[in-house]
Each structure stands twice: as structure tokens, then as C-alpha cells.
Symmetry: C2
Subunit: 229 residues, 2 copies
């Protein structure tokens, strides 16, 4: 059966960096499902699968096409119920939305402000033009003006992750004794930063750093294979 994950890359196809696609990489490996990854530059995404989605990740699973990382995780858990669960029950599925909310409304903005220039610089020429115009419209400032806040964002990053640190005082993963999709949600964000920019926001030890290292080790070091920027 054909199983393809369309993810996102810059000029180097071997350095996929989309936080949402990384969630799906980890989810597919968690379920033990073989797949081919097809990293795609921003401006070529509209050509994928006859224009199925404006954004990645997109998963082709045989005859099925699914977009959106959360919807893909739900699909995988329902389609392959005999493989390890991504949610640990209905309560875990519901609360994973809250982790997504935390990641997207607290963490993503901070990472975008840290890594915006690094992301830009990894892109090919067509993507650079698209990225600059779309992101400058979102921020209402030039990329360079956003990037001027980089060090301040790095300095305040661990403070924003206090809810994660609290959780790790009680258990090794957000999902408990073993990782669940909730861990991969935040992993995706931090891996996006690691691959594009490499800023050290978690420190060298402590609960956050050791949790992220454990996630990088998972599934034959699937995350670590792509080196830090």
C-alpha cells in the first residue's frame, strides 16, 4: 500500500522543519507504520495531490488523503486501533487539543519570532519571496524587525514552558510513563526551532532538556537524524 507523508523543506530536502509534519512523523513511527516522506518547498505545496491542501502535512494512506496534523493522528488511531495508542483513551484525545492550544498560542509565536530569519535563509529563492511577503503581512513588520526581538524571546522561552516543567515533576512524559501524541505536539514545535535555528532555549539539563532528549532518542532517533542548525 502506498503511504506518503508530504512535509515541508527549504532548499535542502533533507532538513524538513514543519512542526506539524514532525508531529505526524512521530505519530507514524509510534504506530509502527512504514511510509515515504516527501519534503516539499512552500510554493510547491499547492501542486501536491491535485491541490488537495494549501498546507502540509498531508498524508496519503492508500486511497485516503488526510490533512491537518491532529486529524491525521485521530485517523491513524482509528484506522489502526491494534497498534500503540496515540491518545490513551477519549480523555487523552480531548486534552491533546488543550496541549495543541498551548503549543499554537504560546509556543509557536515565540519560536516564530526567534527563528523567522533562520527559516527564511534556509529557503530557495521562490520560497523566500513567498515567505517574506506572507510573514511580513502577518507580523505587520519586516522580517528583520521581528528578528530584532530574538534574544529577548530566547531569554523568556523557558518561562513560557512552566506548565510543561510542572508536569515533568510527576512523570517522564506529558502522556505519563510513555509518550503520547501530546508529547509529539510540543516536540514538533521544538524540533522546528532545533532544525532551522538551533537556539538553545531548554538549557543543558533540567526536566525540559532531558524530556526533549528522550523524545529525540525515540523511534531510532527519528528526530535526531536531522541535526541541529
Amino acid at each position: 500500500m502506498t503511504r506518503i507523508l508530504y512535509s515541508l523543506c527549504g532548499a535542502d530536502a533533507h532538513r524538513p522543519f514543519s512542526p506539524h509534519a514532525w508531529k505526524v512523523v512521530m505519530a507514524l513511527k509510534h504506530k509502527g507504520l512504514e511510509y515515504t516522506e516527501q519534503p516539499t518547498p512552500f510554493t510547491q505545496i499547492p501542486n501536491l495531490e491535485n491541490g488537495f491542501s494549501k498546507t502540509v502535512p498531508i498524508l496519503r494512506d492508500g486511497n485516503e488523503l488526510i490533512r491537518d496534523s491532529f486529524d491525521i493522528a485521530v485517523y491513524l488511531d482509528e484506522r489502526y486501533p491494534d497498534r500503540p495508542t496515540l491518545f490513551g483513551g477519549e480523555g487523552g484525545k480531548a486534552l491533546s487539543r488543550f496541549v495543541e492550544g498551548f503549543s499554537q498560542t504560546v509556543v509557536h509565536g515565540a519560536i516564530a519570532r526567534i527563528a523567522i530569519k533562520s527559516v527564511h535563509d534556509t529557503l530557495g529563492p521562490a520560497d523566500q519571496a513567498y515567505f517574506r511577503s506572507s510573514r511580513e503581512a502577518i507580523f505587520g513588520r519586516s522580517l528583520e524587525e521581528v528578528a530584532a526581538d530574538r534574544q529577548r524571546e530566547i531569554d523568556t522561552f523557558a518561562e513560557k514552558l512552566k506548565p510543561v516543567t510542572h508536569t515533568l515533576k510527576f512523570q517522564p512524559f506529558l502522556g505519563g510513563e510513555a509518550p503520547l501524541f501530546a508529547d509529539y505536539i510540543l516536540f514538533g514545535a521544538l524540533q522546528w526551532l532545533r532544525v532551522t535555528d538551533g537556539a538553545d532555549v531548554l538549557g543543558k539539563d533540567g526536566l525540559l532538556a532531558s524530556w526533549f532528549e528522550r523524545l529525540l532518542d525515540l523511534h531510532d532517533s527519528a528526530g535526531r537524524v536531522v541535526t541541529a542548525a
Copy 2:
């Protein structure tokens, strides 16, 4: 069987306000368990149950004594497995810790800065002296200096709850279609603010306000019975 919830009150025993005790009120009602609530002033807590705990909530369940709201919820779910679940599975239990982390590291501080003077003013004389000295030690400022930031904290409160708002775009409760302990964790914090201070931080409509109203309606309006300050 004797089942007693020791909670926290000021001069008026009919206005219990501890966020952690409110979580347990909702958890007990969720499980359909009868109990007697014994609201207790700060300075009398060390006398409860032969000095069992320096803080409330404390639950006496027959011969069992349990402290800490999360531990009490876990106890109730394990002791009464045939009644409605508080966690919706192991994943839900694990991720409830993350909601607790969010509540305690993001929400509680903001509420404390909004309501600190209101809480003080509801206490009896002995508790007022204890509260002032302990809280001024924590904040490193006088209660009045902390309270000077009240309006700014109110104005920025909804912004802090963006992860909750995100979740409510997909489902009526953090727990999904029905509430779980995770909902009660954040409810406890907001009820603490509602009972002591009454600041309008959620607005009159919108996803946050309607979610909180649904929680106030639950279990024969257990939360609404104590009126807003």
C-alpha cells in the same frame, strides 16, 4: 460512612473559596458521592484531623484521609471505578497534570494579583494577619502594592487563556463532549476569583464565558449556589 471535605473559608463559612477545594467539590459531585463540607479558616487548618495537613482540601472518606486535590481525584476514581470517570482513561489522567501545570503556573498567579486584597478583606482578624505576612513574604511587596496591578491583570487575563479558547473551538469542554477533572481544575481557579473578587475576566459571551457558565450549571448549580462577590 463518614465523608467530609475540609475546605477553606474567610469570616463567612458559607463562601468557601479555595480553588483546590472547589476542584474536589466538583469531583465528588461528578462521582455522585454524598459528603459534608467543613469550610475552615486558614489558621484553623493545622488543627484538622490531628494535624494531618497544613493545607486544604483534605478528604476523609471513612477510614481514609487524603490531601491534595489531584491525589484526591485519583483516589476517588480508583476507589469508585463504577461511577463516572474523572479522567477518561490513562492518557486523560496524565494530561490532567498538564492542565494543572497551566492553571497553577499561568492562571493562579494572575488571579492572586487580581484578588489579593479582596481575599484579605473576607478573612477574620487572625487569618488577616497570617495572610498578610505569608503573602507579602511570597510577593516581596505589600498587599496594597500587589493590588495596584489589579486592572492590568484583568485586562490581560483572557489573553492568558488562549489555550483554553483554542480547545473550546473544537469541543464544549476540555474533557470533550462532557466535563472531566481537567475542566474542574480551571473551574476551581475561576471560581476562586468569582467568589472572592468578582472581577469580570471572561466577558459576557464568547467561548470562555459560555464554558464557565456551563460549569456553574453542573451538578445542580453547585458552583452557582455561592454567589459572585
